[in-house]
């Protein structure tokens, strides 16, 4: 049965949340703008354009039309009873953002910002990407809306996500491998910021998560609020009650904030973000920023981050390129401090076990990022038991991760692995 959700994708944009930051973008002590002065004019321009667009019927209608006819919204809600058997018998409901066009939730934000780019009269878009999901979504929107697209991607990630590099190039985007620093998402953001400082007149930085300077955390969140708004109606319709818990994976935190927001004022609903525990937080090789980090300023905002005692950013690690980031969105930092949301690490091994389990029990191959949320739901279900209902944001699909997973599970030998466009062997992930 088709979902009867009456939610419009633009509702999260048009209707102000009760949890907006102050005028300068502060969520409590977090957020704000820790940026070079050179970028302030562009951020002010973006804030003004967004504020105007959210009251503009034409913009909202265009966003709704694209999400209906192009993205394929609303995304379905899928019962996962066989997975539930492995989760203490709890009822597990999957919000299927993996079924969106381009294969993840990222398109929600990208279409909104791409439309804004057009309205600001800019013709060039830059973006960062980790797993490639945001890069692919951005390349897609730029192809659709005739925008030049440059995607910065750490060299480590271009290797472990070679298929997504090819996808972006097929869509007409230029992919720039970033060879500085740790050569992952953090450094891709640095390089995008350097490009933006240099080309700010012609260029929009289409940031892919709820981090960065104001207005990105609030604007990106609003474009993703549709996830939770739809899911809330769908869960109520399906079960007649609110879920006991809503869970999501957290890298920068965009899919999590998108689904959390519709439940934030429901104290009975636990909100739990699962962060990349990598090899285990005790090894130091992880990306569990909220669980293990401390407050500081990175990439334009005050939030939690992984840092050493001199304030140098620590290198994060995760099997999942999309979660491999030492920072996190400022609203999550506030939700943690006030105790409204909980954040727990999930290791590579737990995530890959969940990846396999969901594939085999329900016929759904999740993105490794989303597998962290599935693993968290299994853990939580065992804790809460069979009366519990757990809503999981299945933020992306796993096609891009097949090579990594096949190596993890020993299904193909290391030397049979795919090669990327530059001829570099995909190096990461083999552990089995």
């Amino acid at each position: 049965m088709a979902s009867t959700t009456g939610v419009k994708p633009s509702d999260g944009v048009a209707n102000r949340s009760g949890h907006d930051p102050d005028e300068r973008g502060h969520f409590g002590r977090y957020g704000g703008r820790f940026v070079p002065e050179a970028l302030v004019a562009a951020l002010d321009e973006l804030s003004a354009a967004y504020e105007k667009a959210r009251h503009d019927e034409e913009f909202l209608a265009e966003l709704d039309r694209l999400h209906r006819d192009y993205t394929g919204r609303p995304s379905p809600l899928t019962d996962a009873p066989k997975l539930g058997e492995h989760a203490g018998g709890a009822r597990i409901l999957l919000k299927r953002e993996d079924l969106n066009h381009t294969g993840s939730h990222k398109i929600n934000n990208v279409l909104g910002q791409a439309l804004l780019t057009k309205r600001m009269g800019k013709k060039r878009v830059i973006a960062e990407t980790g797993a490639g999901q945001h890069g692919v979504a951005t390349a897609t929107a730029c192809a659709l809306l005739d925008l030049e697209c440059i995607v910065y991607m750490g060299e480590v990630d271009t290797a472990r996500q070679a298929l997504n590099v090819a996808r972006m190039r097929l869509l007409g985007a230029t992919v720039v491998p970033v060879k500085t620093g740790s050569r992952t998402l953090k450094d891709a953001i640095n390089e995008a910021l350097r490009d933006w400082v240099t080309n700010v007149d012609s260029t929009h930085y289409l940031l892919g998560t709820v981090a960065g300077p104001h207005p990105f955390p609030v604007m990106v969140r609003d474009f993703h609020r549709v996830i939770g708004m739809e899911a809330r109606e769908q869960v109520l319709e399906r079960t007649g009650a609110l879920p006991d818990a809503v869970v999501a994976c957290v890298g920068g935190g965009s899919n999590a904030i998108g689904i959390f927001h519709a439940f934030i004022d429901e104290p009975s609903v636990r909100l739990i973000g699962f962060e990349p525990g990598g090899d285990g937080v005790e090894t130091g090789r992880h990306g569990a920023t909220l669980a293990e980090g401390s407050p500081g300023a990175l990439h334009g905002a005050m939030s939690y981050l992984l840092q050493d005692e001199d304030g140098q950013t620590s290198e994060s690690y995760s099997i999942s390129a999309g979660l491999d980031y030492p920072g996190v969105g400022p609203e999550h930092a506030l939700l943690k401090d006030i105790g409204r949301a909980e954040y727990q690490p999930v290791t590579d091994a737990e995530a890959m076990e969940a990846f396999s389990l969901l594939s085999r029990t329900e016929g759904i191959i999740p993105a490794i990022e989303s597998a962290h949320a599935v693993a968290g739901a299994i853990r939580l279900g065992r804790e809460l038991g069979r009366d519990a209902t757990i809503l999981v944001n299945l933020s992306g699909r796993g096609d891009k991760d097949v090579d990594t997973a096949a190596k993890w599970f020993g299904m193909i030998a290391e030397d049979e692995s795919a090669e990327d466009a530059d001829g570099t062997a995909i190096a990461d992930g083999g552990r089995a």
Binding site: R33, P36, E37, A38, N190, R194, V197, A297, G311, Q312
Partner: protein, 265 residues
């Protein structure tokens, strides 16, 4: 000595100031002290001691690589304070250039206190705007440090006014839209941003980003009160060590002298 004294001495000499940047700890702590002392000997009036940072978004490849080298060689924040102390003890005048997170982590007030006691005169903050700087404004006031914020060609009149109102010592005007790195020519927008800033402040205005030659230094000194050079010094240090930076400082200082006192706007 204060930053104002440095500029007053230069003015008494009928010229602008030459400000030279190098990252502390590049390539090692001791080497960086020698290099900075050589900059002073060559004719730099003020030394900008950079704190190497893992995520320098305002820096181009030259300074990024130098910062990475310094970090790899183990530079710590307390070493930066030692570098400042040694430059000051040798008779140089030093301000610190730092991204804000290392200061936050150290503790804003503690950092101001320790920098002042090391003899540092102020701090240039490329990713801190006055809007977010309440704690730093208070700490710099308490410990008598100058706070140098940046204005950019993209800054509106309102932002120029509010930024210079928060500055003490001097105002740092970025000559171009972009990151640090030596360039062949200084952009046309440099005189314009200085001219737009001038009516809002009586503080000296320094121009940075892209300067590497005596001719450029002379050109910039004709409309600005200070010429700020960074990447070119890093390259000189990498290629020819103390002799390289001493020679470059002398060459740039010659350019600044040839410009004389800037033409009044």
């Amino acid at each position: 000595m204060t930053v104002a004294d440095v500029f007053a001495c230069c003015a008494a000499d009928d010229r602008g100031a030459l400000v030279g940047y190098l990252p502390a700890g590049y390539p090692t702590v001791d080497d960086s002290v020698d290099l900075m002392n050589a900059m002073v000997e060559g004719g730099c009036d003020l030394i900008e001691v950079g704190i190497p940072y893992s995520d320098p978004v305002m820096d181009g490849p030259t300074i990024q690589v130098a910062a990475e080298t310094a970090l790899r060689n183990g530079i710590r924040l307390r070493d930066v304070l030692t570098v400042v102390e040694r430059i000051s003890a040798a008779g140089g005048s030093a301000v610190v250039m730092t991204y804000f997170n290392p200061v936050l982590r150290y503790g804003v007030d503690a950092f101001a206190r320790d920098l002042a006691s090391a003899g540092g005169l102020g701090v240039i903050t490329p990713d801190l705007i006055p809007d977010e700087a309440d704690e730093w404004l208070a700490a710099s006031q308490t410990h008598g440090l100058d706070r140098i914020f940046l204005v950019a060609p993209s800054s509106t009149e309102e932002r120029i006014a509010s930024t210079v109102a928060a500055c003490t010592g001097f105002v740092y005007a970025t000559s171009i839209m972009g990151v640090t790195g030596a360039r062949d020519s200084v952009a046309d927008v440099a005189p314009e941003i200085v001219a737009r800033t001038r009516p809002h402040t009586s503080l000296p205005i320094g121009v940075g980003l892209g300067v590497r030659s005596a001719a450029q230094a002379e050109q910039v000194a004709s409309f600005a009160d200070a010429v700020i050079v960074g990447s070119a010094f890093v390259t000189a240090a990498t290629d020819r060590g103390t002799d390289g930076v001493r020679d470059l400082a002398a060459e740039l200082a010659g350019g600044v002298r040839r410009a004389g006192t800037r033409t009044p706007a």
